[in-house]
Symmetry: C2
Subunit: 369 residues, 2 copies
């Protein structure tokens, strides 16, 4: 079940939660936009759900530094490495994206890496932000030293899901926005299946001997691992695994942040730190590179041609990454954001804890005492 | 069956073939290195096999311009768009890579796109070339207006396999080199199965109704399509499909080259032109960005930690993209390149046609008259 919350109401609520959790007004407003992007576009695991489960509690207990001051470690005309001062990834990565956009406008391309950061929410937000400046954006994060998935054919969970987003402007319609993890699915989808008592589709989880597992409990018990994009080696699993390594290299050693396969941290049974996460944003400005309006017009034609293809199955749909999410965003703006009950059930006690008045719509959800 | 050819012998032969096909000496030497890279590292579809099947015949009949002069269309301090003058992709992309390396050394990151080009061989070569300069390299190509795979859930083959390679230096061992197509497999592997009368693994091919197909003939007859990395939508197929779109956007509209989903070219049953292929190379210099030796040392540790993991299956192996290929290259240098008989069977008549003496080792293969 879901509850519909008007976008302005949810935005005001998120801003208030983040301010009361310790962020300065401007940072709270910035972070709330990233949170809203996720909920508005249907990425419900990464919106107010993450705010309630990760951002607010960690800002409050100091694991995320609410008073962080972003520092420039090194800088060139087209690039920079920033230190996030243990702050909220949503705030540091918006700054990193805007810096990359400004640099790309001058030189055609820019890369900005952030170390010493935390969870950055929806990777697609930053890539999409570049498209609003007419640019191509690529954004990625590692998961610090957290281990979620073992190397292909291995046993020790030492790599994150390592999300990667890429977006391109295509004026006249929805932009291209690819937002993917390097694993077959992000762990939030396995958790959702567990919460709802559903089996997961074949192909998401694998036992060490390679057999497919459909019980989400097996993942959380450590009896099955999430597969790499592509599945087993025979169907391209080395590609998803390789993309995860690429993201870890660009967010860990390049930024100077932690990374998954860190020998010192491979301690069985202990929670591994997730405080020193790294992010990298890459922006390309087609106009600065001399492509002028050709890029946007070409992208529009390319995407429209794909979406106009005849479906393989009668009644099926052909689309492209970014288009369904843009439809969902239009719906959210018109009808309100559809927040799942289990998210509301986390937001209500959070509002209580912070002495904030929750949106009236939350009352429709029965919250366990 | 394979024949072992010493690397210097194969190099000299490839150079001679490319010169006799019309390339100037310097261009023939450059292109031969890209060809050799593929054969030496075990990517046999993209080495002398492609030279015999694509480069030499098209240079000879003029579809690829042997006398091409690369032209700068636009240039910034960190980027450029080049026009390949209908020349060989191997030559233009080496130049693009070297330009990107030089620019990245100054500014930390650079992107160079090439239009009006042709098949560029092994994407990994260009990414790997950046690692030899101590840099991170990303190289990609679209397939011009050729259609190989339909959009996810669609019916018209309008996207290429759109290869993407990424490599990072890791001094003290094999670099990271990911070389992947956006489809589950490149079409060369389907062709190899057909040639050898083998079924392909489940998951490579799909019928329009979504059932898995294992006959390679079905692909060439148009009855089954190659799947996107991730397979069907439930296991992440939208990610492989999205990566293919990303590559097409960066190589087509950005470079000013053709791209797959071009409405005018969607003519059933006609061969679509592949002459205006685009490539894009992106290079990041960790040293210029201020990461100093941290990047290489971190990358080494990260890769070694992955490869040292305990295998899930007794006797199994854990490795990372680039490591098996480096072992194969060392073997090739020591024992000679293992060229499959069917490749030699193409090279022998090519040598005859060009009045070149073929390596003596080729005599071991019976070539049909």
């Amino acid at each position: 079940m879901t509850v519909k919350i008007p976008v302005p109401t949810l935005r005001a609520f998120a801003q208030q939660v983040l301010r009361r959790s310790g962020l300065a007004d401007a940072d709270a407003a910035t972070a709330a936009e990233v949170v809203l992007y996720a909920d508005v576009h249907g990425f419900t695991t990464h919106g107010t759900n993450a705010m309630a489960g990760i951002y607010a509690p960690r800002l409050l207990d100091g694991r995320i530094n609410a008073a962080a001051r972003l520092r420039t470690v090194s800088e060139t005309v087209s690039g920079a490495v920033l230190d996030g001062d243990r702050g909220l990834g949503l705030v540091s990565t918006v700054a990193a994206t805007d810096l990359a956009i400004a640099k790309a406008r001058e030189t055609g391309v820019a890369v900005v890496a952030v170390r010493n950061s935390s969870h950055f929410g929806s990777a697609g937000y930053y890539a999409h932000r570049a498209t609003e400046a007419g640019m191509i954006g690529i954004a990625m994060t590692n998961c610090g030293a957290q281990g979620v998935a073992p190397p292909l054919g291995g046993t020790t969970r030492m790599l994150g899901t390592n999300p990667l987003a890429a977006a391109a402007p295509a004026p006249g319609g929805a932009p291209f926005v690819l937002d993917m993890s390097a694993t077959t699915v992000a762990t939030g989808k396995i958790r959702a299946a567990q919460r709802e008592g559903r089996a997961v589709p074949r192909g998401w989880l694998t036992a060490p001997d390679g057999t497919s597992v459909t019980s989400p409990d097996a993942f959380f018990a450590g009896d099955a691992d999430v597969t790499w994009l592509g599945g087993p080696a025979a169907t391209g699993g080395a590609k998803g695994y390789g993309l995860a390594i690429l993201v870890d290299l660009l967010c860990g050693p390049l930024a100077g942040a932690s990374w998954g396969p860190t020998p010192d941290l491979l301690v069985d049974g202990e929670e591994r730190p997730d405080t020193d996460i790294g992010h990298t944003v890459l922006v390309i400005d087609p106009v600065a590179l001399g492509a002028g309006a050709r890029f946007g017009a070409g992208a529009r034609e390319l995407l429209d041609t794909l979406a106009a293809d005849r479906p393989a199955v009668p009644g099926g749909t052909v689309t492209y990454p970014g288009a369904p999410e843009a439809l969902r965003a239009a719906e959210s703006l018109r009808d309100g954001v559809a927040l799942p009950d289990h998210v509301v059930a986390q937001l209500v006690p959070l509002a209580d804890r912070l002495a904030i008045e929750a949106p009236a719509e939350f009352a429709a959800v029965a919250v366990p005492a």
